[in-house]
């Protein structure tokens, strides 16, 4: 097995130390940072598929994220001269006003990122106006609103309303998720779709943007 294939395997199988060792070995053997990141992407495809099939769960997503960020640290010094990767499209995301939960949102951000989307994360307790400003500047195709509390239903609705008032609603697709979000909530807030987990968000983004 080539170094790269071994690395893909190590990441996909959650072998943290082995993956880091192989990353260093690849870099030392003169591989370009792009090759290393390619391996990461390939591995994350496998992880994503296994997550979708219900073989992998949150511990595996967290561990994969941890491995990837350590790998990124290793290749970072070499990345300056590398060409930028073309992204599929842009997704703006945040936990809506009044809600400070971020675990679910962070997983969605991570999964969108490794699936090739450019993600802008506005953090937690984001007021509607901040979403509006960010849509104007970042020009995303998709806006993801996260919220765990039932209080977030209203904030989601107000955020979508604010996009409408600003004349931006028809430029973006809006997806919502978190806590007790379901079809009732989707209809109430006026979002385009809702999702139960991170892969649902990735699939919605792919469906709307392609990639």
């Amino acid at each position: 097995m080539s170094l790269k294939n071994s690395l893909v395997h190590a990441i996909a199988e959650m072998q943290e130390e082995e993956a880091i060792r192989l990353t260093r070995a690849m870099v030392d053997s003169g591989a370009s940072p792009m090759e290393v990141l390619d391996a990461a992407r390939e591995a994350m495809d496998i992880v994503g598929q296994r997550y979708e099939k219900g073989i992998y769960f949150l511990p595996e997503l967290m561990m994969a994220g941890e491995i990837l960020s350590q790998m990124a640290e290793i290749v970072k010094p070499l990345l300056a001269q590398a060409p930028a990767v073309k992204k599929h499209g842009r997704v703006l995301i945040g936990t809506v006003a009044g809600d400070i939960h971020d675990i679910g949102k962070n997983i969605v951000v991570f999964m969108l990122d490794v699936n090739g989307f450019e993600v802008m994360d506005l953090g937690v307790d984001v007021p509607p106006q901040k979403f509006v400003e960010a849509v104007k500047e970042f020009k995303p195709q998709v806006v993801g609103l996260s919220g765990f509390l039932t209080l977030a239903f209203d904030s989601m609705k107000e955020t979508i309303k604010a996009l409408e008032v600003a004349g931006l609603r028809n430029q973006v697709k809006v997806m919502i998720g978190g806590g007790s979000v379901d079809e009732h909530v989707r209809a109430y807030t006026g979002a385009d779709a809702w999702g139960r987990d991170a892969m649902a968000a990735v699939n919605l983004a792919k469906q709307w943007i392609g990639g």
């Binding site: 949150l58 967290m62 009044g98 209080l151 007790s180 979000v181 009732h184 209809a187 109430y188």
Partner: protein
């Protein structure tokens, strides 16, 4: 010689204490009877019998404040306003049981310098939320990955001297607490008291005592409100104590979600050793409260073992064994564990059902789990309920609510052993939907 008390007898004694009208005041004998009938109704479903009607509870959090027109902040800082809000809510909706609210002692949390949560009106700048927002937990690694050995060696020592000083800033001085074993020799005591007299330790004890006093002010109001709901309307409370699954103690508030999930890969043996060490504490926490309040129900919210959080294999390995041991310990002590199963548990039902828990000794409140499957796996041995979506309380119509409740009772509630409840805490609702929920329960929940 005294005969050994069985766990059944202990449970019966707690049910009897809950049902007893002795030492409790009621405005009339009829209300006292209503109270007893409602307790009996819940006892019947726990013991898998068919009562006169389906017991129906309301899990209301922020809605109690919203309905009365007061803020979440006032619910934690203005006890008289909060009391009026709770009384008004119960007077207007007339639920059969006392409904929970977000009524909590804000000043006590301030005095502790409590940083595990953020809440409306907090006097600690970093923890303060606007009055319109409900309290929320702040996830972080309050225990470091390299501290497992310390936790496992002595959880209470770790809690008192490491964890509490981190989450209660005003109790930081407890880090310096000398061991209380020093009391074993009289000549050691001056040293022990001397160290305890260091200013940070003294300040910590002072803060602790003041928090105790502030909590007592809250407790007086809270007790008065509860007694009034019982006396005026015959509404029993439904919670005697609290506990948590050992894995959640570790995952929610010590290591955090990310921390504990990385640990499952990096140091699985330590995770397992830690949850085992936390099990007797989880049992003790629930039993102590149930004995103090003389009420058998011990609420256990379940978090990180849900569908989607971990695989079935990991659930069987990391989550379930110590939760099961906790349930058995509580049952042994006469308590009735009341599991609040947040999220989905479709992939766990068979594991739990086949684990040999005793019949008629537990209560399971489900959120998004398929209730037909629950009936299939739990119907013969455990009381269950829940599942009415929070979204329906807020974004639904009264007609949709009535249909949902009717279908739920018709599908899984016909044989007893069933109670009606929202699947999660309802922070926001339309009053007409809350009414529709309670009316539908009375319309479709009476057994003929």
């Amino acid at each position: 010689m005294q005969a050994q008390t069985t766990s059944e007898q202990k449970m019966e004694a707690l049910f009897a204490a809950w049902m007893s009208t002795e030492g409790k005041s009621f405005v009339s004998p009829e209300v006292a009877q209503t109270y007893q009938r409602r307790v009996q109704r819940f006892k019947d479903v726990v013991q898998l019998k068919k009562p006169d009607q389906v017991p129906t509870i309301l899990l209301t959090g922020g809605f109690v404040a919203d309905y009365a027109g007061i803020s979440h902040g006032e619910m934690m800082y203005d006890y008289e306003k909060a009391a009026r809000a709770i009384l008004k809510f119960h007077e207007d909706f007339q639920p059969d049981y006392q409904a929970a609210s977000n009524f909590l002692p804000g000043p006590a949390f301030d005095r502790l310098g409590y940083v595990l949560y953020r809440w409306p009106g907090s006097k600690i700048p970093s923890q303060s939320l606007p009055p319109t927002m409900p309290f929320q937990m702040v996830e972080a690694e309050y225990m470091r990955a390299d501290e497992y050995d310390q936790l496992i060696a002595d959880p209470e020592y770790f809690c008192l001297r490491v964890y509490v000083p981190r989450i209660c800033k005003a109790l930081g001085g407890w880090q310096l607490l000398p061991t209380f074993f020093a009391t074993m020799e009289m000549p050691f005591i001056p040293f022990w008291l001397g160290v305890s007299g260091a200013p940070p330790v003294m300040e910590a004890f002072q803060a602790f005592l003041e928090a105790v006093r502030l909590n007592a002010e809250y407790g007086a109001v809270s007790g008065r409100v509860s007694a009034e709901l019982m006396s005026k309307y015959g509404m029993p409370g439904t919670i005697g104590g609290f506990s948590k699954a050992p894995f959640d103690i570790l995952g929610d508030t010590l290591r955090g979600t990310r921390g504990v999930m990385l640990d499952m890969y990096r140091c699985p043996d330590k995770v397992l050793a830690a949850v085992e060490r936390l099990t007797p504490i989880a049992i003790q926490m629930g039993l102590q409260a149930a004995m103090m309040s003389q009420h058998p129900f011990v609420l256990i919210p379940l978090h990180k073992g849900a569908d989607g959080f971990m695989s079935r294999e990991d659930f069987k390995k990391f989550y379930w064994p110590t939760l099961k041991a906790t349930l058995l310990g509580l049952i042994e002590g006469g308590a009735v564990p009341f599991l609040f199963v947040e999220g989905g548990y479709n992939e766990r039902l068979d594991i739990i059902a086949e684990s040999g828990l005793p019949a008629g000794r537990t209560i399971w409140l489900f959120d998004r789990t398929d209730m037909k499957a629950v009936k299939k796996f739990f119907g013969s041995w455990a009381c269950f309920g829940g599942n009415v979506p929070a979204s329906l309380f807020y974004a639904g119509t009264p007609q949709e609510m009535e249909t949902y409740v009717r279908d739920l009772i018709e599908t899984v509630g016909q044989d007893g052993g069933f109670f009606l409840s929202p699947g999660v805490v309802v922070d926001q609702a339309r009053p007409e939907n809350v009414r529709a929920y309670l009316e539908a329960a009375r319309k479709y929940g009476v057994y003929g």
